[in-house]
């Protein structure tokens, strides 16, 4: 329990630090939300600029501490202001969030599962056929840029073979509903972006898992399990893999930033309207409030995953619980 409360406390402190950095960076950069919107115009009418500043709530003359307190309050209540298109940032994010969460979340879990499984099996039958083939192959693919793999898949499966759709999250003209045909359509659209993410990220977990597994397999308690007469799958899962996965869980949370970065490229490649695509458009539009909010969302995602990994480690390894 002490461990959990300490982890949660650390999470809150890191979150606060991230919020503060997110507050400071735009303020040390020249300009503000209003000037960014009007940057493409020359000879801006000062009245128009002032009107925009009021609309965005930019007040350069206010005490910075007061602004900071207001900012923290706004973040906690989800008031992130308006996008360049005058839509509330929160609405915009919430409308895109499920798509990214579905795509990136599911593919990350699949990639982690595949990577871990291949690592475990590869180490279990070290030097076997599976071990000789899959880990090196996936590791080579993991070093490709994700958009490259995405474009390759697009070229083969969408352009040449015409099996799968080129872009977007569902067919144009379809009304979102919970019907089977709509869900099927969404899944078909998710195959290529999902596949490119899985292919590129699965290799990240394989080698560390395989190496951890080889180390634990040499431990005496594995031999002990064998001498006791335990079935080999139980030795593999309960004795070797359970201990080998512990360092990998932390690694999983650490690699998540990389995965999220990859998801931006994938969503852009496939014009998949999720948070990553939104991030891309917000940077090209110089949409500061949206960027700021998205930074926070991504930071929060990584922090939550680190927290979850820590809690999972506590669940699997008794030594961390009392430490």
């Amino acid at each position: 329990m002490k461990y959990v409360s300490r982890r949660v406390g650390l999470f809150l402190i890191t979150l606060w630090a991230a919020l503060t950095v997110n507050f400071i960076i735009p303020r040390v950069m020249p300009g503000n939300e209003a000037t960014a919107v009007l940057a493409t115009f020359r000879d801006v009418n000062p009245a128009a600029l002032h009107a925009l500043q009021i609309e965005f709530g930019v007040n350069v003359h206010q005490n910075i501490l007061l602004t900071y307190v207001q900012y923290i309050g706004n973040c906690l209540t989800g008031q992130f202001g308006l996008t360049a298109q005058r839509v509330p940032v929160l609405t915009e994010i919430i409308s895109k969030l499920p798509w990214t969460l579905g795509l990136v979340g599911v593919t990350t879990i699949i990639a982690f599962a595949i990577g871990t499984l291949v690592g475990v099996l590869g180490a279990w039958r070290r030097g076997g056929k599976l071990d000789g083939l899959l880990p090196p192959m996936l590791f080579i693919v993991a070093s490709f840029p994700v958009f490259f793999v995405g474009l390759l898949l697009l070229y083969v499966f969408a352009v040449t073979l015409n099996w799968l759709p080129l872009s977007s999250n569902y067919s144009i003209g379809l009304e979102p509903s919970l019907s089977l045909s709509f869900i099927g359509d969404v899944l078909v659209h998710a195959v290529l972006p999902g596949l490119s993410l899985v292919v590129v990220t699965a290799g990240l977990w394989i080698y560390s898992m395989r190496n951890n597994m080889i180390t634990t397999l040499a431990e005496d308690y594995v031999k002990m399990g064998r001498a006791k007469g335990l079935r080999s799958w139980r030795i593999m899962v309960d004795y070797a893999a359970r201990n080998a996965i512990l360092p990998n869980l932390t690694g999983f949370a650490m690699q998540l930033g990389y995965v999220l970065g990859g998801s931006i490229l994938v969503e852009y490649t496939f014009s998949y309207p999720g948070l990553g695509y939104l991030f891309y458009t917000s940077t090209t539009d110089h949409d500061l409030p949206l960027m700021q909010a998205l930074f926070l969302v991504y930071t929060l995602a990584v922090l939550v995953c680190v927290l979850l990994a820590d809690l999972a480690t506590a669940g699997l390894d008794p030594r961390t619980r009392d430490a």
């Binding site: 431990e219 005496d220 335990l230 359970r242």
Partner: protein, 359 residues
């Protein structure tokens, strides 16, 4: 072959190995270099007997334990347990029967337990695997009983601990408790005290002696410490570079060692009762166990080596009642078919080779 004296009936034999051999291939696929960990080991363990397997690191002691525990299959040779060939056990029931009767205790108490489970887990898992008739409450009771036997008190509290919360000595006791839980006939104890503080060793050794007396288990006690073998063992088998070079009753082997290697081992143990005798020069060269070829493997270090030692591998020869040594030079106690009696008689036995050997 082992010379079994008439007094030990053959039906008393619990486990017998014949020509037990294990080689490991070194290097990659193309490598043909073979490490001879154990070569042609013939040994017997009787019921309610503590047999010490003594030898230096790399002599193949641990490999013997792992072969007997069926962690590796042997390259050649056979293990007969109660007359049944262990490698002909195929059904899961038969394999479990053997593993249940012959559990193993590992050398390193720090790595022999899965760190993510409470220590009760290992004992309970053993009970679940090997004693299917017990229900949950009975298993708990049995776990507490074996924890009491090995001296982990209070048992109920100890069972709830995680391995990292215990000391090395306590962990080693847990190792024995796990083995005991399955009502073993033979415990394979692989250097159970070598990783423990000297002050804790005696406790573990006494516990082993008590297990033999009260639970009627045999123990194969593997050690490099000949003094602790003297303390608990009924019989001693000395291994060198994968060969059993000498075996016999503890007192006989230790008081009248025949093989030069055994003598070397004994000279390393200080004995306050005897006058300090300069240790025969030991070149200290490690044995060659990778593709060793023919010949005695101790010959490079042996002060008594003759030409024959380099070309012919010595086979175990009877040296006295139930006492064998694999040495071309050693001279048996048996003179003209008469068994040598006491140590005094043996000392008076005139033999020229004896002079060269022990002079």
């Amino acid at each position: 072959m082992i010379s079994t004296p008439a007094t030990v009936a053959d039906d008393n034999v619990l486990l017998r190995t014949t020509g037990l051999t294990r080689h490991f291939r070194l290097g990659g696929l193309l490598s043909r270099r073979m490490l001879h960990a154990v070569d042609d080991l013939d040994m017997v363990i009787h019921e309610r007997e503590i047999v010490a397997l003594v030898g230096e690191s790399g002599s193949g002691k641990t490999t013997v334990a792992r072969l007997l525990a069926m962690i590796y299959p042997p390259t050649r040779g056979d293990i007969l347990y109660r007359g049944r060939s262990v490698h002909k056990l195929h059904s899961r029931k038969d394999v479990l029967w053997y593993r249940g009767e012959v559990p193993m205790v590992f050398q390193d108490p720090y790595s022999a337990m899965n760190p993510v489970f409470r220590v009760a887990h290992g004992v309970m898992r053993n009970l679940k695997l090997h004693r299917r008739d017990l229900d949950g409450a009975q298993r708990r009771e049995e776990a507490e009983r074996v924890f009491d036997i090995v001296g982990l008190n209070p048992a109920a509290d100890m069972l709830r601990k995680f391995p990292y919360e215990m000391s090395g000595g306590q962990r080693q006791r847990v190792g024995f408790a796990q083995a005991l839980a399955v009502r073993p006939k033979l415990i394979l104890a692989d250097e159970p005290v070598s990783m423990l503080d000297v002050s804790i060793r005696a406790g573990i050794l006494n516990m082993m002696a008590r297990l033999r007396a009260e639970e009627e288990t045999s123990i194969l006690y593997i050690t490099h410490d000949i003094a602790s073998a003297r303390y608990v063992a009924d019989r001693i088998i000395v291994m060198y570079a994968g060969h059993a070079v000498e075996q016999g009753p503890t007192e006989v082997v230790l008081s009248r060692p025949k093989h030069p290697y055994t003598r070397l081992l004994l000279s390393a143990v200080p004995d306050p009762r005897e006058k300090a005798v300069p240790v025969s020069a030991d070149s200290g060269e490690p044995p060659r166990v990778i593709d060793p070829g023919e010949g005695c493997r101790f010959r490079q270090r042996c002060p008594y080596a003759i030409d024959k030692c380099a070309t012919v591998t010595p086979l175990p020869r009877p040296m006295g009642p139930a006492h064998d040594a694999a040495c071309h030079v050693a001279v048996p106690d048996v003179v003209d078919g008469d068994e040598a009696g006491t140590a005094g008689e043996w000392r008076r036995t005139p033999a020229p080779a004896d002079q060269s050997l022990f002079g």
